[in-house]
Each structure stands twice: as structure tokens, then as C-alpha cells.
């Protein structure tokens, strides 16, 4: 009696006899209401537009950084594009499944979350040009810049809430990772806003506070978002 033979015998057993639909499910079918199918690309569009409008409104309520005109334009555009790419990629992988599939691309979402979280901390620590109107707190006064962390998290609020609504029921497994990607997307949007607003230009502030915002947003989203997305799967 080999394992292979036994498994083959088990696999060859006929299909089970019918099991009728349970009373609870029958009751729910009795009042079956139509629902709208999930449209990932439409959700992606709505997510990006709504998040950007929200971030633009926040930026409008604040002020652009005072040293904006003194910074290298290539760095300004490159860093802005990097923040936006992080936001867009994490959102895409968290919301849009492969063709023919239903669940988001969680492996790509994990990779994007990890790469953005690490990259923005490292790049922030390493690359931080400044101008005459820039501020420098440095490591000893790092915590004086904590307002940026709160602002980044406030910016990530809209994307995270939208993600929780759009992904409700879509991720029966690995929901924490997909939620983390949504959080990372929000954190990147926060980073983009801070890039346009904050004139503190030292490495520790940009790396740990701005880049760390991605890590914190991803962690908080991983903790909180599955409470909403997993609701249909609770027994």
C-alpha cells in the first residue's frame, strides 16, 4: 500500500451525494437583491482621481514649500514621479486582478509595498538637496518634524477608506497584504504631498518621517482594513 496508491484511490472516489441548500442561505435567497459587479479598472480610475483631488485640496489648504524655486528641477520632478509611481503601482496591484482572475495580485502588491517602503526611506536618507529657504532639523531634532508624519497619514486616509470599500469581499485570503499595499499607496500619496509642501530638507526627516510614513500607513492599513474587507467572510 503506497501513499500514491492510497491517494489515487481517494481521488477516484465518486463525487459526494447532493447536499441541499441550507435554511439560512434559502432565507437570504428569498430576498435576493441585485448587486453591481466589481469593475477593477473603473475602481482604479475612481480611486486615483478621488485620491488626487483629496490630496490637491489638502495641498491647497496648506502652502507650497518655500524653497520650491531653489531646488534642482530634475530632482523635484524625479522624486515627485517616484512618489506618484509608488502610489499608482501599489494601487494597481491591490485593485486590479489578472485577466480572468478575481483576486488582486497580492504577490506583486507585497513586492511593491516592500520596495516602496524601503526605497523611500533609503532614498530620503541619501538624496536630499536643499535651498536657501530650506530647514534642517537633523537627527537630534527629528521629532520636531512629526507633523509631517500626521499630515502624510491624513493624506493616506482617503485612499485607504476607498480601498476598504472597493475591496470588500474581494480578498478571502492574504487580505492583510493587499491592505498593506493600499496603505503604502496612501503613504506614497502622502509623500507626494509632503514633497510639494514640506521645506525641511535634511536626510533623517525626509527618509524617516516622509519615507517612514509609507511604512506606518502600510502597517496601519494591514491592521485595520481587513476588518472591513473581510466582513462577508466572518462566520
Amino acid at each position: 500500500m503506497s501513499a500514491e496508491q492510497s491517494l489515487d484511490a481517494l481521488a477516484a472516489m465518486p463525487d459526494p451525494a447532493a447536499s441541499p441548500i441550507g435554511a439560512l442561505l434559502e432565507a437570504e435567497l428569498g430576498s435576493l437583491a441585485p448587486v453591481t459587479a466589481r469593475r477593477p479598472y473603473r475602481q482604479l480610475g475612481m480611486f486615483v482621481v478621488a485620491s488626487l483631488v483629496y490630496a490637491a485640496l489638502l495641498l491647497g489648504a496648506l502652502s507650497p514649500r518655500a524653497d520650491l524655486g531653489e531646488l534642482p528641477p530634475m530632482w523635484l520632478m524625479g522624486a515627485g514621479a517616484a512618489w506618484f509611481s509608488g502610489f499608482g503601482l501599489a494601487t494597481y496591484f491591490a485593485l486590479v486582478p489578472k485577466a480572468g482572475a478575481m483576486t488582486p495580485r497580492w504577490r506583486a502588491a507585497i513586492a511593491t509595498t516592500t520596495i516602496t517602503a524601503v526605497a523611500f526611506v533609503v532614498l530620503g536618507l541619501g538624496v536630499h538637496p536643499d535651498g536657501a529657504h530650506s530647514l534642517h532639523y537633523g537627527m537630534p531634532h527629528l521629532l520636531r518634524g512629526h507633523g509631517c508624519l500626521w499630515l502624510g497619514l491624513a493624506t493616506s486616509l482617503a485612499p485607504v477608506v476607498l480601498g476598504a470599500v472597493f475591496l470588500r469581499g474581494a480578498v478571502p485570503v492574504f487580505s492583510r497584504w493587499v491592505a498593506a499595499a493600499i496603505g503604502a499607496a496612501g503613504g506614497c500619496l502622502g509623500g507626494l504631498l509632503l514633497h510639494m509642501h514640506c521645506r525641511i530638507a535634511d536626510g533623517p526627516h525626509i527618509g524617516i518621517i516622509h519615507g517612514g510614513g509609507v511604512v506606518v500607513a502600510a502597517g496601519l492599513a494591514a491592521l485595520l482594513v481587513p476588518r472591513a474587507t473581510d466582513r462577508p467572510y466572518r462566520s
Binding site: M1, S2, A3, Q5, S6, L7, D8, A9, L10, A11, A12, M13, P14, D15, P16, A17, A18, S19, I21, G22, L24, L25, E28, L29, G30, L32, A33, P34, V35, T36, A37, R38, R39, P40, P97, G100, A101, M102, T103, W106, R107, L167, R168, G169, A170, P172, V173, F174, P232, Y233, S235
Partner: protein, 183 residues
């Protein structure tokens, strides 16, 4: 699925009739008990029903159904703090009736040796839930490692390891069971 989403209850009944045997067989192999598998099946379909808005038009819903069944099984196993719903000693005498819904010795499926199937089912029941599921998905349900990993929400590498360890443990369990029966 789209008709079901549009509010057609008959479409759900058709879907249920189509998918139920496969899901029940899968859950039966995981739980080793028809009653437990039935209960998990109802929970799974209730969850599918409540999450039906998440369906993406044109997508294959079967991996999603399996993922929900997987999650339901693991949640239940954790909740009960037991991996196996044991039938030994209770009043369900016909194993593997848990899978087939009929007595094994009445099974006329070609190649289905009830004794071997019973031994495999007993040995599967001894495995930790994750290894058991890996073996069931890859060896019994005919899923590729990548499909099984997607259903279980893990990486392909982790699924390979689980399936390999599960299979090795199963092999040892079956060998020792054979020795015991000979002795």
C-alpha cells in the same frame, strides 16, 4: 454568476448544483466527516453569497470559491482548536462516507478501492491543516502548485514545501499503518 448578481435566485441554484459536489468533496477530504463538510459547505456558500458583489465579470470564480472554502476550513479548525473532525467513536460508521456521501463498500467507481481510500483519509486526518490542505489541493483536487498557492494565499515555494512535507508525513503514516495491520 452574472445572472445571480443581477438577482436571479435560480441562477444561484444552478451554480450551487454545478459547484457543490466539487466543494463538498474538497471539504470532505479536509474534515474527514460528511457532517462537518456539509456545515462548512453551507458556511462557504453563505460567504460567497454575501460577497457576491466582489465578482469580476468574465472571471473564473472557482479559485475564489476554493479560497473561501479554504478560509472557512482554517477558521473553523482554529475556532475549534482541532485540525481534524474525528469520527472515531461517534455514530458515523461509514468511512469514507464523509467524502462520498455513500458507503465506501457500495462505491462502484472504477479504481476506487475503499480500503486504500479509507487509509489515505485516516492518514490525511493526522496531518496539520496546512499540510493536509496542500496535499488535498495538489494530489487530490488536481490543482497545480501555483493554483493551490493562490487558493491558500501563500507563495508557490511555501505551497511546494507544505505539499512535500505533507506527502512525506502521509507516506510515513501509511507505512506505519500497514506495519500495524500486518502485525
Amino acid at each position: 454568476m452574472q445572472r445571480y448578481q443581477a438577482g436571479d435566485a435560480d441562477a444561484f441554484r444552478q451554480l450551487y448544483a454545478l459547484v457543490m459536489p466539487k466543494m463538498l468533496g474538497y471539504l470532505g477530504k479536509l474534515t474527514k466527516s460528511r457532517a462537518a463538510a456539509d456545515d462548512l459547505l453551507q458556511q462557504t456558500f453563505l460567504k460567497i453569497h454575501r460577497a457576491r458583489g466582489a465578482y469580476v465579470a468574465g472571471a473564473d470564480p472557482l479559485p475564489w470559491f476554493y479560497s473561501i472554502a479554504h478560509r472557512t476550513f482554517l477558521d473553523e479548525a482554529r475556532k475549534n482548536q482541532r485540525a481534524i473532525v474525528r469520527t472515531a467513536g461517534d455514530d458515523v460508521p461509514e468511512v469514507p462516507a464523509g467524502i462520498t456521501g455513500e458507503s465506501a463498500d457500495r462505491s462502484d467507481a472504477p479504481g476506487a478501492d475503499p480500503e486504500l481510500a479509507r487509509a489515505a483519509l485516516d492518514a490525511l486526518g493526522e496531518l496539520p491543516p496546512q499540510q493536509r490542505e496542500a496535499v488535498v489541493l495538489t494530489k487530490l483536487e488536481g490543482k497545480s502548485v501555483a493554483e493551490a498557492a493562490t487558493i491558500a494565499g501563500t507563495t508557490v515555494g511555501a505551497m511546494k514545501v507544505r505539499a512535500h512535507r505533507g506527502y512525506e508525513a502521509l507516506r510515513k503514516l501509511l507505512t506505519s499503518a500497514k506495519k500495524e495491520s500486518v502485525a
